[in-house]
Each structure stands twice: as structure tokens, then as C-alpha cells.
């Protein structure tokens, strides 16, 4: 069985490498859809762990309000500052409010809130499930005839998917408020006109599509975090890798899917 070194051409090595990477990508995608499918499958099965759902909703939703709110408010403030200066060059200051409200509700609030949640929750899901995996707690669940996806993943994914839209709604409000504060308070815009312009071009559809986006992003980032944690191998180092990769993958997939969702929804 000697694997006597048959000299390999650089091309063979290259194709091998490409093949290995392709297999890894397929494996990752397969795992993502395995967790997604099983999460949907188990969501409607008894027992419904209401207490765990509420606990996760508080963790994802209520506890994230400060970080998401602050992000949105400062984004609204910067938007107002930048656009006011730019628009002033051709005397279009009146449209600052419309630009701030439209860009926040349609794009910035859902994407930025989701990226913040990917950092805050996606990472902690991966770390939590990854630690449970390497300390055999997930095996212990199987051994107690409890499906880990049912007990662990379903409430986490469900809570993140449900809580992202209200978080984004709060982000919308605080972002618009931040823009208003800068434009009116700092730049001297007319408050009544600013308020009018905020809603003049804003359609309910803009807000709803932003909230739908948020729910989809919540689903993606939580399934990514849970997948990374669930399939962790390699002890503490593996947990670290899973955590990092949950945030990176979650963020990239949010940004890529944002393009396609925008194309579909708008």
C-alpha cells in the first residue's frame, strides 16, 4: 500500500485544490439547508417550548435594542449631515428628509441591524452550540431521546426571525429621528417641512419590504450561526473558528441576499 511518490504535475495539484474547495463549499451549503429543513420540520412539532422561545426572543430582541438603536440613530444622523451638505450645493435641502427616510427604511436599517445582530447573536449561537457540541451536551440530548434541532435550534432561529422586523421598525424610527435632529437642530432646516418631506415619498410598501428583508436576514444569520455551532469539531479552537466563521459567513450571505431580495421586492 505504499503511496510511493508519483510525481504530480502542478496542474493535478491545482485541480485537486479546486476540487477540495468545491467539496467544502457543497458541504457547507448542504449543512445550511440540512439545518434549515430540519428547523422548519421540527417547528410545528410538540412539545412547544414556550419558555425557551420567550427567553430567546428577549435575548435577541429586547437585549439588542440599544446596539441596533444606536447604530440606526447615528446612521440617520450621518445621512442627514452628508446629504444636507451635498444637496445644499444645488439648493435641494428640502429632499434631505426624503432621502434619509427612504434609504433607511428600504435599505440601511434592515441591513445594518442584521449585520449588528449577526455580530451579536450569530456569533453567540455558534459559540453556544459549538461548546455544547464539543462537551457532548448535544450528544446527551440525543441520548435523552430529544432531537437537538427541536430543542436548541428551533427556538433560536424562530426568535431571531421574529424579532428582526420589530428591531428594524425601531431602527427606522430612531434613524429618522436622528436625521431630523441633525437637519433641524444643527443645519437649521425647517422642522415642519422636514417632517412633511419625510413622509411625502415614503410608501407603506417601502417599510414593509424592509421588514420582510429583516425577517429573511434573521432567518439566514441564525441558521448560519446554528449550523456553524452544530457541526463544530476540534475543541476550543474549533469553537473559536465556528464563531468567527458564523459572523463572516452570516454577514456575507446577508449582503449577497440583500441584492437579490431588493431585486425581487422593489
Amino acid at each position: 500500500m505504499s503511496a510511493e511518490a508519483v510525481p504530480r504535475s502542478p496542474w493535478t495539484a491545482l485541480f485537486e485544490r479546486i476540487g477540495r474547495h468545491s467539496l467544502n463549499v457543497f458541504e457547507e451549503v448542504g449543512r445550511f439547508f440540512y439545518i434549515l429543513y430540519n428547523t422548519i420540520h421540527w417547528t410545528f412539532r410538540r412539545p412547544f417550548d414556550i419558555r425557551e422561545w420567550v427567553r430567546q426572543m428577549v435575548r435577541v430582541g429586547v437585549d439588542s435594542i440599544p446596539v441596533v438603536g444606536l447604530t440606526a440613530m447615528f446612521t440617520g444622523m450621518v445621512m442627514a449631515l452628508q446629504t444636507y451638505r451635498g444637496f445644499a450645493r444645488f439648493h435641494a435641502e428640502g429632499f434631505v428628509a426624503s432621502v434619509v427616510s427612504l434609504s433607511l427604511t428600504r435599505e440601511l436599517a434592515p441591513v445594518l441591524a442584521s449585520l449588528m445582530i449577526a455580530g451579536r447573536i450569530g456569533s453567540s449561537l455558534a459559540a453556544e452550540l459549538g461548546t455544547m457540541r464539543v462537551t457532548e451536551q448535544i450528544d446527551a440530548l440525543y441520548a435523552m431521546a430529544t432531537e437537538p434541532i427541536h430543542y436548541l435550534v428551533v427556538p433560536r432561529v424562530g426568535a431571531t426571525t421574529l424579532m428582526l422586523p420589530p428591531l428594524v421598525a425601531i431602527a427606522n424610527g430612531l434613524g429618522i429621528f436622528g436625521g431630523y435632529g441633525i437637519a433641524v437642530g444643527l443645519m437649521g432646516a425647517n422642522p415642519i417641512m422636514y417632517w412633511d418631506k419625510t413622509f411625502q415619498f415614503l410608501d407603506l410598501n417601502d417599510v414593509f419590504s424592509g421588514l420582510i428583508k429583516a425577517a429573511v436576514f434573521g432567518l439566514i444569520l441564525s441558521v448560519t450561526g446554528c449550523t456553524k455551532g452544530f457541526f463544530t469539531t476540534g475543541g476550543a479552537e474549533g469553537v473559536g473558528r465556528a464563531t468567527t466563521s458564523a459572523v463572516v459567513m452570516g454577514s456575507v450571505v446577508i449582503l449577497v441576499s440583500d441584492f437579490f431580495l431588493t431585486k425581487i421586492l422593489f
Binding site: P47, M132, T135, E136, Q137, D139, A140, Y142, A143, M144, A145, T146, E147, Y151
Partner: protein, 265 residues
């Protein structure tokens, strides 16, 4: 080396089906054959101990028994029912016959001791809160731990963690108890206490036990039969007294704790 699986010292029971039967079990991980054609039978009520070096495949074998790992080939039969060919729902049902204690306890660190032991009761029974608390106390008493219900798992010593793990494993009154290295990392006195608890549990509960360990002292204390696993194969099975006098040089070295040249754990 001949597989002397034979059931040295085994009481033939005139055709009564074994509680657990493993038939020609094979498993490969990353190109390495970890299990190579394992065959074994465990009778109801028996305490069966599998010994072997680190890396011999003990944990992998134990995880096959409860369906945590699917084999590449072969069958695990529990009470005449093939666990390997069961669908997900049926295999969850079969698993309810098991209680398993993990190497480091595998206690849920998000819960206290009470939460850990109550977990399977809350998932699988309709017991009231008081009944569950009473059952938890009863399980803790069986493993000689009382008054620790409200302790966080991080406050427990290694030996206590194992015993809480035992208590959780017996909470649903399983028919089969699996122990994964119950003594690893414990001092000899605590290790003796753990063995005592295992022996007592066996006396008080009507269970079949399978334990894997590399600690021969412990194996002799708790076993009805001992099987030696080497390089993914069972090379001998015997009652404790017969096991000591097996002529196999590897087993004699293992018993004496002497190094074996060709193997590196």
C-alpha cells in the same frame, strides 16, 4: 490474532434473545478503520465492560449502541429491533430505553443540577413539578448526592459531575445504562466511590449496563463480563476471574500496565 470472541464464561440461556446484539459492525473515520467487524451480545441484567487502550474505538462503539453514530456496515439490535435500520422517529423511541453517562458528565451548563436531572422528565413525562422534584431527589439519593439540587454545574467537582450525570441517566428508569469512561480523570478514592455507585445502581435498578473504561481495577469491580477491544476488534470476552488468566500476551501486558511496542495510543 484470532478473535476469541467466544463467550468464555457466558451463561447460555437456551436461545433467549440478548438485550443488545452487535453484528459485524464496521466504521471508518477519515480513512482510518476504527471498528473492524465487531460482534457482541449483552444479556438483560448483565453488566458488560469493554476495556481497551485509548484510540481502540471504545467510545465509538458505545456511541453506536445508542445510535449517536451510524455504522458503515453492520447492525445494532436492541431487544430484537434493528436500531441501524430504524427511521428517525423509531430510533428516538428506541433511545428512550437508554440512559447514558458521558465522560465529563455532559451536564447542561445553562441549568442547575435540578434542571439537568428534571430535563428528561419534563420532556418525556407528564409528571407535576412536585413529582419531578421528588424523582430528582430519589435519583440523587441513589448516587449519594443530597441537597445539591440548586447548585450550578460549574460548582461541582469531577466526581459529583459524574454522579449527577448518572442521576440524569437513570431519571427515566431506563432499561439499558451506558457509561463512557466513568472514572477518567478521577483520583483512586473518588474512582472507587463511582464504582460503588455503579454497583449499587445495578443492585437497585433492573438494568443492563455497558461500560467502557481503560481502568482494569474498575472493570473488575463492576463487570459480569469483560471484553477487550484492540484496533477495532474484540479480541477476547470473559468473566472477570477468567479474564485475568487469559493467555493472550497483549491482555497480560494491558493488565500489568506494561507498554506494547507496536502501538502508540
Amino acid at each position: 490474532m484470532a478473535n476469541t470472541r467466544g463467550d468464555a464464561g457466558r451463561v447460555e440461556q437456551g436461545g433467549s434473545a440478548p438485550k443488545i446484539a452487535v453484528i459485524d459492525l464496521w466504521k471508518t473515520f477519515a480513512g482510518r478503520e476504527v471498528l473492524r467487524g465487531i460482534n457482541l451480545e449483552v444479556d438483560a441484567g448483565e453488566s458488560f465492560v469493554i476495556v481497551g487502550q485509548s484510540g481502540a474505538g471504545k467510545s465509538v462503539l458505545l456511541k453506536h449502541l445508542i445510535g449517536l453514530i451510524a455504522p458503515d456496515q453492520g447492525h445494532v439490535i436492541i431487544d430484537g429491533e434493528d436500531l441501524t435500520n430504524s427511521d428517525a422517529a423509531r430510533s428516538l423511541e428506541i433511545r428512550r430505553k437508554f440512559g447514558m453517562s458521558f465522560q465529563e458528565g455532559a451536564l447542561f451548563d445553562s441549568m442547575d443540577v435540578l434542571g439537568n436531572i428534571a430535563f428528561p422528565l419534563m420532556r418525556h413525562t407528564r409528571m407535576s413539578g412536585d413529582e419531578i422534584a421528588a424523582r430528582v431527589r430519589q435519583c440523587l439519593a441513589l448516587v449519594h448526592l443530597e441537597g445539591v439540587e440548586r447548585k450550578a454545574t460549574s460548582e461541582l467537582s469531577g466526581g459529583m459531575r459524574r454522579r449527577v450525570g448518572f442521576a440524569r441517566a437513570i431519571a427515566l428508569q431506563p432499561e439499558i445504562l451506558l457509561f463512557d469512561e466513568p472514572n477518567t480523570g478521577l483520583d483512586p478514592i473518588t474512582s472507587g466511590v463511582i464504582d460503588g455507585v455503579i454497583v449499587e445502581m445495578r443492585e437497585h435498578l433492573d438494568v443492563t449496563m455497558v461500560t467502557i473504561t481503560h481502568d482494569m481495577k474498575s472493570a473488575f469491580r463492576i463487570a459480569d463480563r469483560i471484553a477487550m477491544l484492540r484496533n477495532g476488534q474484540i479480541i477476547a470476552t470473559a468473566r472477570p476471574e477468567a479474564f485475568r488468566s487469559l493467555a493472550d500476551p497483549y491482555i497480560q501486558k494491558f493488565l500489568a500496565g506494561e507498554p506494547v511496542e507496536e502501538e502508540v495510543a
